[in-house]
């Protein structure tokens, strides 16, 4: 057997290109259906785990899938926002506590998520370094954000401007990083978390500027009836610090400030049912079970996967046939070599063993390659798949 493997190996090594092509083809044939199945299962489990850990989600009436994707995976889908009053309403029912989410803004390419402190224990997020948020203007980074940007407590990062060329647009807000989170291998690793009020400031609903009562004539246009009108020279602050905190304020009624979605955490299953009942006939809002929505998505994925499997198996069969054809042709071309072997004293069985060893080695290499593909999928596939499917949906 050792001699057969040796001769087979030498032959395959000599015919590298042909060997590589056949191995790759076989690896795809062997690995692709398995990888697809594994990918599908991993993604479905991952999506479902995230959804099942979120008992109820309140949002504006519209696409339930978009709402779930934006609230659970922080992918901006342009869902119409609720308001802070909706969060208070959930709290006031006494049936659940509301955790607000404000999404849609970005910071260095990562989603900026405005929320409350309750979000962190709810999602079992623990600190890897630094401390939790204590005031506006601070942020806590998900594990991947910290690793990717090389930032940690004490550093700062800017929010992305909401409008690049609009002079009246919102300018970047400088956030102070106070903590980084431990990895959870989910969407929270790729988010920048802020107090929801910081998110409101970042999107221009609140601002800070120099004290007008102290401002000089170059800034003040008019003082009248206790009111002050200032010009564009007024210094607006682009970061919130202990020193300028008092100069930050919000306009309008806080209860109207936007909230992209509210995670409702019922006190018990009965409370959850009662709460859902209250929103059944609501004309403008929907209170849904993310698990139900993701189940629907998973069924679509499963259907799509079934079709893809048929295609893959068909192609795979063709690949197998091609492989057999190539091997048969190859042996026919080596007929003289086989005759020589026989003349020298090699049995047909031994000759078959030598040829067979080539097939065994190629299949072995294909299996190893398929295993490597599976390993890479296990390492990186879940996040990549989530991003691919969620961004594309």
């Amino acid at each position: 057997m050792r001699d057969s493997l040796y001769l087979a190996w030498q032959y395959l090594r000599h015919n590298r290109a042909k060997t590589l092509l056949l191995v790759l083809s076989l690896a795809v044939f062997i690995g692709l259906p398995l990888v697809m199945r594994a990918m599908s299962e991993v993604m479905q489990e991952s999506l479902m785990a995230r959804a099942e850990s979120t008992p109820l989600l309140l949002g504006k009436k519209g696409s339930s899938l978009d709402l779930v994707i934006e609230a659970l995976y922080f992918q901006p889908k342009g869902v119409e926002p609720l308001s802070e009053a909706d969060v208070t309403e959930i709290d006031a029912t006494g049936l659940a506590r509301g955790i607000p989410l404000r999404t849609g803004l970005m910071a260095h390419g990562f989603p900026l998520v405005g929320t409350s402190l309750d979000y962190f224990p709810f999602r079992h997020l623990a600190l890897a370094d630094g401390r939790s948020l204590t005031m506006m203007g601070e942020c806590v980074l998900g594990a991947d954000v910290a690793a990717s940007l090389g930032l940690g407590p004490g550093d700062a990062l800017l929010t992305s401007p909401s409008t690049l060329f609009d002079l009246a647009g919102v300018y970047p807000l400088k956030l102070h990083i106070v903590g980084t989170l431990r990895p959870t291998y989910g969407p929270d690793d790729r988010a920048v978390f802020v107090d929801i009020r910081t998110a409101w400031v970042a999107e221009g609903l609140g601002h800070g500027h120099q004290d007008l009562s102290q401002a000089g004539p170059d800034v003040v246009l008019a003082r009248k009836d206790g009111g002050v009108t200032a010009n564009a020279k007024l210094v607006q602050y682009n970061e919130i610090t202990q020193d300028n905190l008092d100069n930050f304020h919000f306009h309008g009624e806080p209860s109207t400030y936007p909230v992209s979605a509210v995670i409702a955490v019922p006190d018990n299953p009965k409370a959850g049912t009662l709460l859902r009942g209250r929103f059944v006939d609501d004309p403008t809002r929907q209170l849904l079970r993310p698990a139900g929505v993701v189940e629907g998505l998973n069924q679509q994925i499963f259907r799509f996967e079934r079709i893809l499997q048929i295609v893959v198996w068909t192609v795979g069969l063709a690949t197998a046939v091609m492989f057999v054809l190539v091997m048969v042709l190859s042996w026919r071309l080596r007929a003289e070599e086989l005759r020589t072997m026989t003349r020298l004293g090699c049995s047909r069985w031994k000759a078959g063993q030598i040829m067979g060893a080539e097939v065994v080695l190629m299949i072995g290499a294909s299996v190893a390659l398929a295993a490597l593909l599976g390993f890479l999928m296990a390492q990186y596939g879940e996040t990549a798949l989530q991003n691919l499917i969620l961004r594309g949906s």
């Binding site: 001769l7 030498q10 032959y11 090594r13 072997m341 003349r343 020298l344 004293g345 090699c346």
Partner: protein, 221 residues
């Protein structure tokens, strides 16, 4: 070494037939087999080596009645007792020179590729002047060098009999003589019997025995 008596042979589904009433080649002889095309020179080698079995008659090689052996026994006998040198050398491009020399050891479990075998291979390569080429593939060698590799492969198992089927057919005259010198020297040094098929009558005076197959009843009817 070789003895044939009342041998009759014909290929199935072919009109070719060969009759050899008597043929004898002594041990350590240098024998040549000549004859026109289709006279059965290669068939003679096949009968002697056990590749083919006569329908009638006796074939004795190195003291063994090969006509009585089973197919596996003939293979075993062949690989342990006989060395082959082919006209086209039939070297394998995917093995280096050393790999080609040791090739017979890979083909049958009766041969053990041990230290002694490797030493023999290196010694032969040295004797044949190809020691510096052991790690090169055959397609990088000249015709003469390839012939020497083929000779080394035939001799590495220390056979009692070397069968060469027109080994110098593709060589130029100078290389031809050189190759023959090497073959004769090695066979003599290792006390091997040589039976060589050749078309070249100019070489016959270098052989002890000449078997003229045109004197036998052979051909296609």
């Amino acid at each position: 070494m070789i003895s044939l008596r009342d041998v009759r042979f014909g290929y199935p589904r072919s009109r070719f037939s060969l009759r050899i009433p008597e043929l004898s080649i002594p041990v350590a002889a240098r024998a040549a087999a000549i004859g026109p095309s289709g006279s059965g020179k290669t068939t003679l080698l096949n009968l002697v080596s056990g590749i083919e079995r006569p329908q009638v008659g006796e074939v004795e090689t190195a003291g063994v009645r090969v006509d009585r052996l089973s197919v596996p026994a003939r293979r075993s006998f062949r690989i342990t007792t006989i060395g082959f040198v082919f006209q086209d050398f039939l070297l394998l491009d995917y093995l280096d020179v050393l790999g080609n020399i040791l090739y017979p050891y890979r083909l049958h479990s009766d041969l053990k590729l041990d230290r002694a075998a490797r030493d023999r291979a290196h010694e032969l390569a040295s004797n044949l002047g190809i020691a510096a080429m052991l790690e090169r593939p055959p397609n990088e060698l000249s015709q003469g060098e390839r012939q020497r590799v083929a000779i080394a492969r035939a001799l590495v198992t220390a056979p009692k009999l070397v069968l060469a089927d027109e080994p110098t057919g593709n060589l130029d005259p100078a290389t031809k003589q050189q190759a023959l010198d090497l073959l004769f020297d090695q066979c003599a040094a290792l006390s091997m019997t040589l039976l060589m098929v050749t078309h070249d009558h100019g070489l016959l005076d270098r052989f002890d025995h000449v078997v003229d197959l045109s004197t036998f009843d052979a051909g296609t009817t």
